[in-house]
């Protein structure tokens, strides 16, 4: 299982986490047995908003996460 944690705290949501979540959830529907998506509370790494949104793909932390990048990180792991 590929685990994707998406922070949906105030900072991350303001700068695109909700749209990113939409896109990752759509991908999850295509690979229901391989991806799990978790919405998580503020990870306390957003003091500088330039780090947001924050996403973790398994243990890899992605700052300033953009949809394209997150999706490609997930796809790398898909079997």
């Amino acid at each position: 299982m590929i685990k994707v944690d998406i922070c949906v705290g105030s900072h991350c949501s303001l700068v695109g986490a909700l749209n990113l979540l939409d896109n990752v959830e759509a991908l999850q529907l295509e690979y229901p047995d391989q991806i799990v998506v978790n919405k998580v509370e503020c990870l306390d790494m957003c003091d500088d908003i330039k780090n947001a949104p924050l996403v973790k793909v398994d243990d890899e932390l992605i700052t300033a996460a953009q949809t394209q990048l997150v999706i490609s990180k997930v796809m790398e792991r898909i079997k």
Partner: protein, 501 residues
Amino acid sequence: MSKLKGIYTDIVKIRRMVFAEIARLALKDAECEEFDKIPYRIIDTEEATYRSSIFKERAIVAARVRMGLSMDYASNQEHKLLSEGIREFLAEEGQLKEPLVNVIRFACEKCPTNAHFVTNNCRKCLAHPCSIVCPVDAITIEENAAVIDQEKCINCGKCKAACPYEAIVNYERPCAAACGVNAIESDEHMRAKINHDKCVSCGQCIIACPFGAIADKSMIYQLLRSIKAGNDVRAIIAPSFVGQFGPLVSAEKIVAALKKLGLNEVREVSLGADFASLHEAELFAHDIPDKQPYLGTSCCPSWTYVADKHVPEVKENISESSSPMIFAAESVKADNQESEVVFIGPCVSKKLEALSPKVKDKVDYVITFEELAAIFVAAGIELTKVETEAEIEDASYYGRGYANAGGVAAAISQNLKEQYEIEPEISRADGLASCKKTLLLAKAGKLAGYLIEGMACEGGCVGGPGTLLATNRGAKYVSKFADQSPYKFAFENKNLAKDKN
């Protein structure tokens, strides 16, 4: 609906960063000079990313800051530092004035207006159905491809539909395509220009422009300064608010966060919707069809402006009832006479409704959800972690449903059915173009006896330009929250009796 609605782009990012910066400076009571730094904080690269030059990018951010403070667009044409202009503006009236929605002219990239073009997908085929179906004989088959004579073309789209290679495209100005009342024209430099005699301030062009060249004004600064000054500021929050701040942020958390920000109370505007649906049912029962032929709902300001500006003959049949916002504000002010009221919603045109003579003493500020999200970030309020208090139970199931297209008519017709045994015919319009069409039908006498619901935004208020969520997601949250109400119908809502005394 504009293709850009609900997609997070760099335009959205810059807009929100400007809001957050204005909020940050308002909260710390910063000197005006601090505003001069905003364009440099937001565009902090060495070279331009989006435009021809970094200076232009910063100038556009400065224009956004001015309008974010509610200054007139004209202030961008004056030779003044950002901070100087702001100081003068705040010392003088310091308040929002019409026009609300403006093109940042030097940010407009002069997209071509509506036209059909042949692309190089064209194979110059033997059949060339394009030229055969063209009703005005505008297409000739030249040496390499079909060519459309732009002088003759009437943009009917028949050639585009007939081409087997999808070789013909219809190129539209995104802002103009989003405007259902054709208010976008061109100035002498071919830049978009809003005809304010036609514009109904729905805000959809703000979302639609792929260059972020259109902006409305905001009252973030004025609201936050008032809270900081220790005034008794109370919030009323529109029915579409649930879910807008993320999937882990319940309605109760939003209320708790607003209190943390310094608001003394938060009421659901859905409570006002319950008042409004009862009132409009009463009007309908008494006046239709004897005194007037049909009844149009009153809650969406842009819908009523479409009637004012485009189909004035029907104006008197749009309900004189007050909008849910007004009822909710009245109920707050009745209990707290010295208070100020801020309406928080998905809506741009409510900012104008609040300026009208009937409303200006009731609603003091109007803020969108998007603006509020930026304020929370500036204030360091983490929504996922606030402690909640009691559940909120201000409004009925049908009142909460006002945010979705169809919800207003459903609420009113349920009241009519239960209280007056009337089951009216219903006509619904969402989206400006459909609003205008419906009003024209009404004018032609085709909707006699109808209850007519009009909403300027597609999908209803959840499709508003001030939302953060994709429209369908917002709609789901609204329905779920409506299900949790302890009251089904407006007339069962115990809070109404309490408020009426």
